[in-house]
Structures are given as structure tokens and as C-alpha cells.
């Protein structure tokens, strides 16, 4: 992108999804709207931080069952070894076009790139596991806040994760 060049107008997903689901006869979706957000400041540099990775793109290792591509309220969360081979993944998600991610998993789940940052010392270390889950279309949000979210937090705390890189799709 050249300096001064205008970024293309972002896609309006909220309108598109309201139209799509409304046309199917569904009541209006109650979007979560937050006015503020928490922030935890880290008092150490990236070179001392342990980092993990999360995708919600229906990504599973080949030996695992496929994700349900049309899932609603699926709280499945897979742990994936930080050493997993980049060609050992399958993607099942009807929500987005994953052709490119199937060709190169790093398009949605950049585990090879994160390993390189650890090898070069830019980040301190990798957590033992990376994660795939929290696919979209979760309507029972209280279960995320009260059950699956806190359970995930405990797993990250067990592995002493400082930073989670989260990539929704």
C-alpha cells in the first residue's frame, strides 16, 4: 500500500449477517456491544513472554474428528502441540472460504511464523499448546463466560502463557 493511498472500505459484516439471517425468518440477532474493554499491561518485554495461539476457523489435526462446519453453540476446543506439522490440518467451516488456509495453514493459524519468532528470540518462548475452538455462532454466551472461557483460561495459566494471539474466522 502506497503512502496516502486510501484503504478500501471494509466489508459491513453486521449488515450482511442481519440481512442473511433475517431473510431466513430469524428474529434480529442481539449483537454484543461493549463500550469499554479490560487491559492487562505486561511489565516484561516480548523477548521474555510466553506466547500461544488460538484460531476459531474450524481447524483440526488430521487424526482428530472434523469440526462440524455448520456448528451452532459448539464449545469444542482442541489443544494442538506447538510442534505440529503445518501439513497435518483439515478445515471444516461453512462460514468462510478456507481454500487459501488449506494450502497454507499459516493464513489463519500462523504456527510456523510464531515458531520462527521464538527461534530468533523475538518472543521468549512458545506455550506447549496452541488452540482451535470457539467457532462462531455461539448463541449461549453465558456458557462462554461461565464455563468454556474460564476453563480455557485455566489451561493457559497452567502453561504460564503471557500472551494469546487470537485470530477469528
Amino acid at each position: 500500500m502506497l503512502p496516502g493511498e486510501r484503504m478500501k472500505e471494509p466489508i459491513r459484516y453486521v449488515d450482511a449477517l442481519n440481512d442473511y439471517y433475517g431473510a431466513m425468518g430469524n428474529p434480529p440477532y442481539k449483537w454484543t456491544v461493549n463500550e469499554t474493554a479490560p487491559l492487562h499491561r505486561l511489565d516484561k518485554p516480548l523477548s521474555e513472554c510466553r506466547v500461544s495461539l488460538l484460531t476459531s476457523g474450524g481447524v483440526s489435526q488430521c487424526a482428530m474428528p472434523a469440526f462440524n462446519p455448520d456448528a451452532r453453540n459448539d464449545h469444542r476446543l482442541d489443544s494442538i502441540s506447538r510442534d505440529a506439522a503445518v501439513d497435518d490440518f483439515q478445515i471444516h467451516d461453512s462460514y468462510y472460504d478456507h481454500t487459501d488456509a488449506e494450502a497454507d495453514i499459516n493464513c489463519v493459524f500462523p504456527l510456523a511464523r510464531l515458531r520462527e519468532l521464538a527461534a530468533s528470540g523475538e518472543i521468549g518462548s512458545l506455550a506447549e499448546h496452541f488452540w482451535s475452538g470457539f467457532m462462531g455462532r455461539i448463541y449461549n454466551r453465558s456458557k462462554v463466560l461461565e464455563e468454556s472461557g474460564p476453563a480455557f483460561a485455566e489451561r493457559l495459566e497452567d502453561e504460564r502463557v503471557d500472551i494469546l494471539v487470537a485470530a477469528p474466522s
Binding site: 471494509p10 479490560p38 487491559l39 492487562h40 487470537a166 474466522s169
Partner: protein
């Protein structure tokens, strides 16, 4: 997933969120978000584009220390280079014809 990031942040784990939906991200307000104006499923760029993948990841990690207020939404300076659209419910998002 933005909700999960908020919850983790409250428990002392820093998060950085790499999103392709700017309006969706603005609503849920994760603690730190990098908006990448790419098709959904190309958060980190194109297959084999190691340089861009690494740059987006590095930029997202940089937000951990640069952001000073929760809910920051930063635009990554990238142009996908060709038109794209979103078709909910379909697993193919085909490029619309130019013009």
C-alpha cells in the same frame, strides 16, 4: 472469540486479536485488535507469503506493549489488491468482477 479475549485479559493474560471484520470487532471490543482488510480466512495474508504473515503477526504482538487503553482497534496497512466480498452461509467467497 472477542468475549474470550476480554475474559482472559481480566484474568491477567494479554491478548491480541487479528481480525478481518472491522465492524464486528468494533462491537465486541476485544482488548487489542489489529484489523486486516483481507477476505475472511486470510487474516495473515496469502499462502506462502511468509514475509507478510510474519509482519502481521509481529504487528499484532507489538500491540501488547503499544496499546494503552482497552478496546484499541488498529488498522494494518494492507491492500488485498483485488475486490472481495462475503457470502454468509456459503463456503465459497468468490471475487466480484472488477468495475
Amino acid at each position: 472469540m472477542g468475549l474470550v479475549c476480554r475474559l482472559l485479559e481480566e484474568r491477567g493474560i494479554a491478548t491480541t486479536y487479528v481480525a478481518t471484520g472491522r465492524d464486528l470487532t468494533a462491537l465486541v471490543k476485544p482488548p487489542r485488535a489489529l484489523f486486516v482488510n483481507h477476505p475472511m480466512g486470510n487474516n495473515f495474508g496469502r499462502p506462502g507469503d511468509v514475509k507478510m504473515q510474519a509482519d502481521i503477526l509481529r504487528t499484532a504482538l507489538g500491540l501488547v506493549h503499544s496499546v494503552e487503553e482497552g478496546g484499541a482497534l488498529v488498522d494494518y496497512p494492507s491492500d488485498w489488491g483485488e475486490p472481495f466480498e462475503f457470502r454468509p452461509g456459503g463456503n465459497r467467497v468468490e471475487a466480484v468482477s472488477a468495475g
